[in-house]
């Protein structure tokens, strides 16, 4: 990577931090303690029993996760990440919402102390983002080094990303109750299920097979010729033309294959993706990649670098906004135990993928995603889950 690129990326990161700090105000100190103090004291639902042992975030009587369960759930998440991909992020959220009982616990305060209910929602969002997002940042850095970034495109994406990742925490922190959050989470799970389902359909499978066949045929027929002589390659290279360069459209062609994009789309795309990521509490890499390849039709080496930059900038902005602007507390111990599990799971993924065909894994997760999606949608928007265990 060139020195210029380093300077530019430093500027973008600095801009993200500055955007947060410039608009900062003194932290709302003691937010959790205040919320706990204002909750009715007692042993019934919706009350806090001060004599009960501390649980999630040190709240007396809150669900207390045995450390081994955190690790086991992390293994499950890590295994999915390394065998199927983005669905691991969804499962991290399911752990916080359902498995560790935080949504049900938070909902008990809906009437008695809505502030605590919303604070727990924000905390779950930030826990999700820490768990998935921080890891995504590290891997994005790796890909940034590997990939070849188209800086103007990355900056457009990041510009929109900063706005989305800043506005969502500022506008929604403390305002979204757990039921709504669970409902919207269910919608995202459905979207992921849809993508996974398409990949398992005969059409999805056929397109992959066709792509492989086309690649193989091309490799056999052309690759040797292509690399045979530098003179011939140079002759082909002279066919590269940027035909239009402007604020609204950039077009370039390579011997008949035409690429074009409107710079406004990366900005809007970056904004929408980072807003969804910050709202649900995920990294966003899984949305940037299909956006850049399917909608913008860009080549892989561009996608790797630009999505890495976009994830990095929007994650920094979002976590800073939640943590420093809105003082959302997080349970670091829970995150730590889950991270241990994720790294164990990431080692198991490649081992099992040798024995289980990828398409069957995806089918399994489609069923699981539908179950979770229906459960969360009905729980969030109808008040009660149609399916047990949610």
């Amino acid at each position: 990577m060139t020195k210029k690129s380093w300077i530019m990326i430093s500027l973008v990161v600095a801009a993200a931090i500055a955007a947060t700090l410039v608009t900062a105000f003194p932290a709302d100190a003691g937010k959790l303690e205040d919320a706990i103090a204002k909750t009715p004291q007692g042993v019934e639902k919706g009350m806090i029993d001060q004599s009960a042992p501390p649980g999630f975030m040190g709240i007396p009587g809150a669900p207390r996760t045995f450390w081994l369960y955190g690790i086991l759930w992390g293994i499950w998440v890590g295994w999915i990440f390394s065998s199927v991909g983005a669905f691991g992020g969804v499962m991290a959220g399911v752990g916080h919402i359902t498995v560790f009982g935080l949504a049900d616990y938070g909902n008990t305060f809906k009437q008695t102390n809505p502030t605590l209910n919303k604070l727990l929602t924000d905390s779950i969002r930030v826990c999700n983002q820490y768990l998935v997002g921080l890891s995504a940042v590290i891997s994005s850095l790796t890909y940034y080094r590997m990939g070849r970034l188209v800086l103007p495109l990355g900056l457009c994406l990041a510009g929109g990303g900063i706005l989305g990742a800043y506005l969502v925490p500022v506008l929604t922190a403390g305002k979204i109750n757990l039921s709504m959050y669970v409902g919207y989470f269910g919608l995202v799970v459905f979207a992921v299920a849809g993508v996974l389902f398409y990949e398992t359909t005969p059409r999805g499978q056929a397109s992959k097979k066709a792509a492989k066949a086309a690649a193989k045929a091309f490799e056999d027929a052309n690759i040797r010729k292509t690399t045979a002589g530098s003179e011939q390659a140079a002759e082909w290279a002279r066919g590269v033309h940027v035909t239009q360069w402007g604020l609204t459209k950039i077009v370039f062609t390579f011997y008949g294959a035409e690429f074009s994009f409107n710079p406004i789309w990366p900005i809007i795309g970056g904004f929408v993706i980072s807003a969804i990521s910050a709202f649900i509490g995920v990294g966003g890499g899984f949305l940037y990649v299909p956006f850049l390849t399917s909608i913008a039709g860009l080549p892989m080496f561009i996608v790797a670098g630009t999505s890495a930059l976009a994830v990095l900038v929007s994650m920094i902005t979002s976590i800073f906004s939640y943590m420093f602007l809105k003082s959302v507390p997080v349970d670091f111990l829970l995150i730590g135990t889950e991270l241990i599990g994720i790294f164990i799971g990431s080692i198991l993924g490649p081992v099992t993928s040798k024995n289980i065909p990828e398409v069957w894994l995806k089918r399994l997760f489609v069923v699981l995603a539908l179950y979770v999606g229906i459960g969360y949608l009905t729980k969030g928007f109808l008040g009660k889950s149609l399916l047990p265990g949610m």
């Binding site: 003194p26 590290i138 990649v289």
Partner: protein
């Protein structure tokens, strides 16, 4: 909690007014109760905050040592995890480079359909390695939340006023800053350790593979000087 931290500099206590200048030694307790898991290590970890006897220096020095320890432990576990799944990563990287290069070659001969097909396969391979990296990154980061959880139970009420402003930062901001410093320092010294030097050589091989990826820029005619 029986232990207390003493600060003797510009400080800001959540429960009291902002004060400045040299202060009398004031005990600041955390409002977060310490988890059972940390009680065992607490007496050892707090020793890191008593190295010089100067409270402010001790706070920064102790936090830096913890950040460095978190970084070193993370590097060790992530390198072990990497070695465990090396073959898988090699396979995905090869696939990614192969299809990426094929897609660029397809462009050079004007075959748009093959470009799209190869680009899709390259992206699938990229997705695989991306999420593999995501989960492997956990091996690098897991010590950080544990340190933060301990610091939360120790120093959650400690805040430092930002100079010339009414804003303040807590233990989290100090730790993140010092972790970044530890990252940069460790990056420079780790290759003196044979184990990490060996890992660096393996990683250099991957970077070389990545450089073999062709980009659209490779298709441009050479610049005339």
């Amino acid at each position: 909690m029986t232990e207390t931290l003493f600060l003797t500099t510009r400080w800001y206590n959540k429960k009291g007014p902002v004060q400045s200048g040299p202060l009398p030694v004031i005990p600041i307790k955390s409002s977060v109760e310490m988890h059972q898991i940390f009680l065992t290590f607490d007496s050892l970890m707090i020793q890191l905050y008593r190295l010089t006897g100067y409270t402010l220096v001790d706070f920064f020095l102790g936090t830096f040592v913890l950040a460095l320890a978190a970084k070193i432990i993370g590097e060790l576990t992530s390198s072990m995890a990497f070695l465990a799944v090396r073959q898988y990563i090699e396979k995905s990287t090869d696939e990614m480079v192969r299809f990426q290069n094929l897609s660029v070659d397809a462009l050079t001969v004007g075959d748009g359909a093959t470009y799209t097909a190869c680009n899709k396969l390259a992206n699938d391979a990229f997705g695989k390695t991306f999420f593999m990296q995501v989960s492997l990154s956990a091996a690098l980061l897991w010590p950080v939340p544990f340190v933060l959880a301990w610091m939360q139970s120790r120093f959650s009420d400690v805040e430092f006023e930002l100079l010339f402003t009414d804003y303040s930062v807590g233990y989290l901001c100090i730790f993140i800053t010092l972790y970044a410093a530890a990252y940069l320092i460790f990056k420079r010294i780790k290759y003196r350790v044979p184990y990490f030097r060996e890992m660096a050589e393996i990683m250099a091989g991957y970077r070389k593979r990545a450089r073999e990826m062709k980009s659209l820029a490779d298709l441009l005619p050479p610049r005339r000087v």
